[in-house]
Symmetry: C2
Subunit: 236 residues, 2 copies
Amino acid sequence: MPPQRGTAKTVAYEDLKRAILTLERKPGSALEETELCELYGLSRTPLREVLQQLSGDGYVTLQLNRGARVSDMTHFTLRDFFLAAPLIYSAILRLAAQNATLVQIDELKAAQDAFREAMDTGDVTARALTNDRFHRITGRMAGNSYLMASLDRLLIDHTRIGMTFFRQTRGAKDERLKLASAQHDEMIVAIEDGDEDRAAELALEHWALSRDQIELFVMPPGLEAPLGQPPKLKSA
Amino acid sequence: MPPQRGTAKTVAYEDLKRAILTLERKPGSALEETELCELYGLSRTPLREVLQQLSGDGYVTLQLNRGARVSDMTHFTLRDFFLAAPLIYSAILRLAAQNATLVQIDELKAAQDAFREAMDTGDVTARALTNDRFHRITGRMAGNSYLMASLDRLLIDHTRIGMTFFRQTRGAKDERLKLASAQHDEMIVAIEDGDEDRAAELALEHWALSRDQIELFVMPPGLEAPLGQPPKLKSA
DNA sequence: TGTATTCACATTGTATACAAATTGGTCAAC
DNA sequence: GTTGACCAATTTGTATACAATGTGAATACA
């Protein structure tokens, strides 16, 4: 799925992914070719190929004669997200517990160390990216390319959503972060033990925690029955 | 997910997909750029972009400085396939029953008509492609982009596998084809009725039928306990 | 005879130039 | 004042030429 391990091209590919995941590039924003060419020191031909790749991976949306945009997140995607996430996450973690190799388990532990460190520093971006990395490793452990396709797309949006709600984590809410981290630790144990039922269960608990945070963010207390019109939609 | 509705480029994109799904292009076979350029009347730049797209969609695998190959199917992928298929198919059909529009239901009926027709003619390719089309429509009905990513990849391989076992359908085995078709009909009813439980159930039954055919093909009767070595694997 | 090195060829990767399409703005007409 | 057409400027799409990498055959050497 990674494009190639070329040089400047890979840098562009990876950095665009990072920028999209961290909301540095906002959903729906235009990606102009010449700007990106200068930024990454590529000519348009290879840069366009990077954009095609990112499109296939779900990071970017292409429109004929109208260039590339960062894939946007509507409330439709949020609804889809809520439906797909528990299904895929639990399946992935079950398979991870079945199939993880020792090397991968070490990778996962390292990722968790990095996440814990990012938790301590207040760096929102680092939290989101290290968390993203943790879950992508569980995906690789599962080693199922079909499910991986869904996981990849879920994580794009999960990480982007996380960038907004990790930001508001203060005081009492840090308990949630600690809980999330503790769940990661338990996942590692379950995977090491090959305890697939426990791993799947943890995936669902972890998702439930995340879901509650998202719901809190989407629907803050006190605004549960908002008056007035729903946000206006573009008609297709 | 479709690239654009350009002209020659779209033709190349769609035709390559078709050729890959029908095994006209064999798994693992090389896709040389100049050959494809002549075939589709494109220069290398847009053709390469098509290959990048197909790579993102899972039809094609790219290697740095070594070009593109048709994604191959090992028995690893077959194992992954058996794990992921029931999960995704049932989820997709459940959502399809929830969300299908009337227009989509008409499309699905048309696809089923085409499938039935292909069943009568002995045309293996037509069977595989119309069946593929039927299931992709259910995916669009479900309208969940996350799960769609997995479904797309499952259907690539399911259709390719189908190309081999549809071929051996004769005499008594036609019963299986009729049953598959009848299941399609029942799916349409369940979707029209919004009966999501029934739709999900049918997805599993349909999968079970398909799985049995695949198992028969992979492990023909009389070879259930083969002697000697398992097929040799390429390490890594 | 077997192995290693070299060189020519073929194929992929990149840059640039050119063609086509879209966008935004101006001006005229209603 | 609003609508519409037209034109310039920007941006995307395509072709071609060139650079770099990989492949394989022939040859030299052990």
